[in-house]
Subunit: 337 residues, 2 copies
């Protein structure tokens, strides 16, 4: 219902100002918000599981107490903190960059996966798979300094809009998850992003958007070379932060086993396994996209964010599975007028 309202309203100049959730105005609502750390969550077992976990690990003297420095929580980004449909935001950025760069690369007209992009041939693009995506990432993400790439990303993300929700991608984040991030941090957690997205695509905006600084963003990595005081991005992928690569990179970057991990797809399965396999209280959470009206509904058959094996493991191991439709009162943040 909400999404139809959004789409209908998202025409013309006022598109960011209408159809979005309004901040609560009455005194009663303000008071409820101030005492509830997760106001965008409906009451129920999911919300309770998150609050119970945080209460347990922060209860000094309790059996599951965890010292502050060990309160590490890791969050996937695409599909866990922000929308990943109809395509990964970084993929959309990449496609637009290919279009912009095409005049300097006439050979792309007949070379896949570039031709697919230029011809808007979704089928050929899909056929080139993850490998094709990585080729596009390399040509669009490399050959400049990290600082210059950051400027390109910042400029793009400042103007690009989600095709359905007609709002900036940094507003297509899940308000309930932003509340979890803040709630955990206010309870002494250090929150990290551990995403398949490329690190430098995320770092320019994660602090402002999620309160997660650059040094707490782990992602896939492009090789760099130090040259004349600058880091040059080389046309080579260094590490893909997905699947078993996630716990490996958590070990490398963070060096601590998370006590809580949040994901939404099979690419997050090993990260959740790694968090869950430690001693004491553990929180392994999957965002299950069940809300076609307000966002999207997909899991086992989706090309983006496929959730099958991890969903089975979640059921077998009693991980927490967020039912977006049932558990989330709001999906997106209110956009300030």
């Amino acid at each position: 219902m909400r999404s139809k309202g959004l789409m209908a309203a998202a025409v013309g100049v006022g598109l960011l100002l209408t159809g979005c959730e309004k901040a609560p105005h009455t005194k009663a609502i303000r008071e409820a918000v101030s005492t509830d750390p997760l106001p965008s969550w409906n009451e129920g077992p999911t919300k309770k599981a998150i609050i119970d976990f945080v209460s347990q690990v922060t209860k000094e003297g309790g059996p599951n107490f965890v010292p502050e420095g060990d309160r590490i929580a890791t969050f996937d980004n695409d599909g866990t903190l922000w929308v990943e449909q109809p395509n990964y935001t970084e993929a959309i950025f990449t496609l637009e960059r290919v279009q912009q760069m095409a005049p300097d690369h006439p050979e792309w007209k007949t070379k896949q996966p570039f031709a697919a992009v230029l011809n808007h041939d979704a089928k050929a693009m899909a056929a080139s798979g993850e490998k094709g995506l990585m080729q596009l990432l390399v040509v669009t993400h490399t050959g400049m300094t990290t600082e210059d790439f950051g400027k390109t990303v910042t400029a793009w993300i400042g103007v690009a809009q989600h095709p359905r929700f007609k709002r900036p991608y940094t507003q297509c984040i899940y308000q309930p998850m932003v509340e979890v991030l803040k709630y955990m941090r206010s309870n002494g957690f250090k929150t990290f992003i551990v995403s398949g997205g490329e690190q430098e695509f995320m770092r320019p905006w994660t602090d402002k958007t999620y309160g997660i600084p650059r040094e707490q963003v782990v992602g896939s990595q492009i090789k760099t070379e130090f040259k004349e005081g600058m880091l040059m991005r080389l046309p080579q992928v260094d590490s893909i932060d997905d699947g078993p690569g996630k716990p490996v990179n958590i070990g490398r970057f963070i060096g601590k086993r998370p006590i809580a991990a949040f994901g939404n797809s099979d690419g997050d399965q090993q990260m959740l396994e790694y968090a869950a396999a430690g001693p004491g209280a553990r929180l392994a959470v999957l965002v299950h996209h069940t809300d076609a009206d307000r966002e999207y509904a997909y899991d086992r058959e989706s090309k983006i964010g496929r959730l099958a094996k991890a969903l089975d493991e979640a059921k077998a191991k009693q991980w927490v599975v967020i039912d977006m439709k049932a558990d989330w009162k709001n999906v997106f943040p209110a956009v300030a007028p």
Copy 2:
């Protein structure tokens, strides 16, 4: 003078309790300490340069003000935060592990660099060079989980003693540098170790020793594999965090250009260049080991911690060079009785 006293005293049961600096006891000294953030530093241009830099970047509204999140300071470890002579502490750990493992590896008796270790053949060991050291690192540092390796390191570092100073290696740290770490942190800096040492060799003790948590320790890396909820350390070096590898890893792990960097050898040259090449106030510092009495004196000709090119660049670019003998009132921390 001090070192001879230390060595003579370091015999028998009381070795940790004698010959070391005592904590200041008089009221006057306590008061001086409480107002001086760097009490182990003699007054002079070096101390002044550090304090001036911190004052500038923290002065709100000033021309060189840096927001708190961007106050990143990186520190080499060996020779910058703790003693690296007569050999890197990790090398000593490695040699002792080879001795312990030798019974299970009869082939090492005739195979370099292992034979050199078992025969205490310093010349053959030196001849095997950095490559030999890496071979030894691989056999002694891999084939177990990161958690089990951490336990091995913790056990060793709890009992091992420096051959000359006869105190634990974690007490062979430079008190003036510990004061710099604390001083910078109390001024909103985030302090990172960026060392050639292997990450998991440092992480078990850096928090207690320097106040630097595991996730802020960047070093050389051993490849790991995720298996049954654990990270297994594979017999393969992933990245060597030295020379140009330091700025590359700073970009990868921290994602911010440091505004201050501290090193002591040519392996730190590019890290200092990277920090110094940014805009605004910058602090690039070399620890110059000039104190054979209290610690060691070495630079251009040293096999460990060679300082030649970086010293020339420091002079040309007016980086801060710490003269250990002249600038440091104390070298090591007082050991609590």
